[in-house]
């Protein structure tokens, strides 16, 4: 216990003004309404790396992680249990319980990758909360791996193939025992430089979690497109966000950065006016589907843009300019898309009209929201 407190720098960190894990058992916690709370990795340097959260009332807090986090996931069986994993090529994960003062398992729990693996930035729970899946890479072979962890100690109990290289975002397809995996296709050296730009090969793979076999794979025509992010609708439509390695492309053509994988139909690329696509600078960050309004949202921090498509018709619905926007989630009641940026700002757009609720704008200058955001569901 003392080791964990020291690691979290509770006393020294607090005195030095660093963010520290929120400790539970205090009456102020009733200000955090779990149904309206959003969570994201935050911070730009080692002293500030954290899992941070905020709510509709403007309250916010952080739990120091000591590593730069990336993707987050909440346990469907215990929605207050949140996991945040390292940004590539880290090797840590953090488990935080957002329960209120009555809960006793309140302190963050940490886990690590086995030595031969490193994290690729994303994780998700199985539908019953019994397992946590993480996208990782085997250092020895550079092949993508999906680790299966039990959710008591978060130890690895199985390694499955990801179906490609550089697996990034992964999600369980609802009502199935299948995992959608965005294999980005990129191999980087220790300095973070791309080493396989000429031969990169990205895909979305569907992994059968029971058999451990890859059942299907989907690609886009452009070989230098890295399929990195995805979301899945309740009826199995997969929305895919793409980043392009322009330096390795022979042509200067604009490449679609969003796609849908329709059950039984395959992959279709989503189009938008060229003037908008040009602004994206070959880069989509996050993708989220609003099931209620059948809309997929994508963010481009390089383009300062969020874009929206209907997932049934593929129709381009509109855009929203927002400086360095990346974090993207859906409110618990599915009425709004929630967007965040690294300046600590949050905006809400109605899921149907895509009009912003300007009165709901928030600003947390001390929180540099990182790439991805989730909603804490009560």
């Amino acid at each position: 216990m003392t080791t964990q407190l020291t690691r979290r720098k509770v006393l020294l960190g607090a005195l030095a003004g660093l963010s520290v894990p929120v400790l539970y058992g205090l009456s102020r916690m009733d200000a955090f309404n779990p149904s309206t709370t959003w969570l994201s990795a935050s911070g730009s340097d080692a002293d500030r790396f954290a899992l941070s959260f905020a709510n509709d009332h403007g309250n916010h807090g952080s739990a120091n992680s000591a590593f730069r986090g990336h993707g987050l996931s909440s346990n469907p069986a215990q929605p207050n249990q949140i996991v945040m994993v390292s940004r590539r090529p880290g090797n840590q994960g953090m488990v935080l319980n957002m329960a209120n003062a009555q809960q006793t398992t309140a302190e963050p729990q940490f886990f690590q990758s086995p030595k031969h693996l490193f994290m690729e930035g994303h994780a998700c729970f199985s539908a019953d909360g019994a397992f946590l899946y993480c996208s990782e890479t085997d250092r020895r072979t550079q092949k993508g791996v999906i680790t299966v962890r039990e959710t008591q100690t978060f130890s690895v109990i199985q390694e499955l193939p990801s179906g490609g290289v550089g697996p990034h975002e992964i999600l369980v397809i609802p009502n199935t025992q299948k995992l959608a995996i965005a294999n980005g296709g990129l191999i980087k050296d220790e300095q973070g430089q791309l080493v396989n730009g000429q031969t990169m090969n990205s895909n979305v793979s569907i992994l059968n979690l029971v058999t451990g076999k890859i059942e299907q794979q989907y690609k886009v025509p452009e070989s230098k497109a890295s399929l990195r992010h995805l979301d899945v609708s309740s009826d199995g439509i997969i929305a895919v966000g793409i980043q392009v390695q322009r330096d390795f492309m022979a042509s200067t053509d604009l490449t679609p950065l969003a796609a849908l994988i329709l059950p039984g139909q395959g992959l279709i690329q989503l189009t938008a006016p060229a003037s908008i696509l040009l602004k994206l600078k070959d880069y989509m960050g996050s993708v989220r589907i609003n099931d209620k309004y059948r809309t997929a949202a994508f963010t481009s921090p390089r383009g300062d843009l969020a874009l929206f498509w209907n997932i049934d018709s593929g129709e381009f619905l509109g855009h929203h300019f927002f400086d360095n926007v990346c974090g993207l989630t859906v409110s618990q009641d599915s009425e709004f898309f929630i967007l965040s940026n690294s300046a600590g700002k949050v905006r809400q757009l109605h899921g149907l009209t895509l009009k912003e609720n300007i009165s709901a704008r928030q600003s947390f200058p001390n929180l540099q929201w990182d790439n991805h955001m989730i909603t804490l569901c009560s």
């Binding site: 216990m1 003392t2 407190l5 509770v10 006393l11 607090a14 005195l15 520290v20 929120v22 400790l23 539970y24 058992g25 205090l26 102020r28 730009s44 403007g58 309250n59 916010h60 807090g61 990336h70 940004r87 590539r88 090529p89 880290g90 006793t104 398992t105 309140a106 302190e107 690729e120 930035g121 980005g184 980087k188 973070g192 990195r228 992010h229 980043q243 880069y283 960050g285 921090p301 390089r302 300062d304 509109g318 855009h319 929203h320 300019f321 927002f322 400086d323 360095n324 974090g327 940026n341 690294s342 300046a343 912003e356 600003s363 947390f364 200058p365 001390n366 540099q368 990182d370 790439n371």
Partner: protein
């Protein structure tokens, strides 16, 4: 588990955490006052940008007047030379404004940004003078008269500074000899109508730039200088509009200057823009002087951007930037393309890192996804 902690630790932790939670307030607790960088930017806009805007507007207006006067009588070597000199002066004022490729310069004008109708080379990095002269010939051969506003709907390649340069410094058959140009003006009166119309369009757009910066930006009733300096754009424009992005002005300014340096450091300007190459050298030098003034307003304020960088511990970077500015000027004085572009690239690099870091500008944590 908290209950297992020693009582001393528990008390300390509870007290500290209570303090922390009380400190983790709502957004209303956040300081909304402008930062020193905001104030530094405001000073630079006021003392550097606005004068550059005014100078360009005045010069373009003077060019229109001079062309009107030249064409009111038979053109001579002297009257043509005066107009050519005024074109060169206007070009130089333009280069001091070119780094500010945001706001008024990028508002939509017909099918492109306003800037493209003034300087098509900036975005295309291509000029084909023979095609421009062919277009002039087409207008001249057409039966209709060429009025002052006849070229209002022309595409960017056919208007602006470079179209005017072609009309004033070459004949319709691409000849550069002054005597031939003078003779052509006198033998082809409609060529005067072409240059008058081109000057009208340039002056009209230059005036538009001035008005947007100083009086009314996009029908807000507020000058762009105010909206920009006070970071108010987000309050006036919806997020369907790129002005509603919410990007802080300091970042916009520094990135714009960096992109200008990337352009002059890499584009084949010295190969492509050869008619007035001497003016090009002087224009680039003017822009470097302007950029230095942008950073160093120490004569007017302690809040110059250089001073802010130094106070943030970036004194050595400030010194490096000053050295690079000196080297660029020397290279320009020697008319060395290689050295000039080498040092411009170095300064570009300074803007990408030192200036961004030295001014604590949040360039965007989420720029590169998923990798450390």
């Amino acid at each position: 588990m908290i209950t297992q902690l020693s009582s001393w630790v528990k008390t300390t932790v509870y007290t500290l955490t209570a303090l922390l939670l009380s400190a983790c307030g709502s957004e209303s607790d956040i300081d909304q006052r402008p930062s020193e960088v905001d104030l530094g930017v405001k000073t630079s806009i006021e003392h550097v940008t606005l004068p550059a805007v005014a100078a360009f507007g005045q010069s373009a207006q003077a060019l229109k007047t001079d062309i009107t006067n030249m064409c009111a009588s038979p053109v001579t070597d002297i009257t043509l030379s005066n107009v050519q000199q005024q074109w060169q002066d206007t070009y130089r004022t333009w280069f001091s404004l070119l780094p500010f490729q945001f706001g008024p310069l990028v508002i939509q004008d017909q099918s492109s940004d306003l800037l493209d109708y003034i300087d098509v080379y900036r975005s295309t990095e291509s000029i084909v003078r023979s095609e421009t002269n062919t277009q002039f010939q087409t207008w001249i051969d057409a039966q209709s008269d060429i009025e002052a506003d006849s070229l209002t709907n022309e595409r960017p390649a056919n208007v602006g500074l470079y179209a005017l340069e072609t009309a004033l410094f070459t004949t319709l058959s691409n000849d550069l000899v002054s005597a031939d140009i003078v003779a052509e003006f006198n033998s082809t009166p409609k060529k005067c109508d072409v240059v008058k119309a081109l000057a009208y369009e340039l002056s009209r757009r230059a005036t538009e730039v001035v008005l947007q910066w100083t009086t009314d930006y996009r029908s807000t009733g507020v000058p762009y200088a105010t909206l920009f300096s006070d970071n108010l754009l987000e309050s006036y424009f919806s997020a369907l509009d790129s002005d509603g992005t919410g990007k802080v002005s300091s970042e916009v300014l520094i990135v714009a200057v960096q992109e200008y340096l990337d352009f002059v450091g890499n584009a084949a300007l010295f190969d492509d823009l050869t008619i007035n190459s001497e003016t090009l050298w002087l224009s680039i030098k003017d822009s470097i002087d302007m950029i230095e003034s942008l950073l160093d307003q120490s004569a007017s304020t302690e809040l110059s951007l250089f001073a802010i960088m130094a106070s943030n511990g970036y004194e050595q970077d400030v010194a490096t930037i000053r050295e690079n500015l000196v080297l660029i000027r020397s290279a320009i004085d020697e008319r060395s393309v290689i050295d000039t572009q080498t040092y411009l690239k170095a300064l570009d690099g300074n803007f990408k890192t030192s200036v961004i870091d030295g001014l604590n500008i949040n360039k965007g944590l989420t720029f590169a996804d998923g990798d450390s």
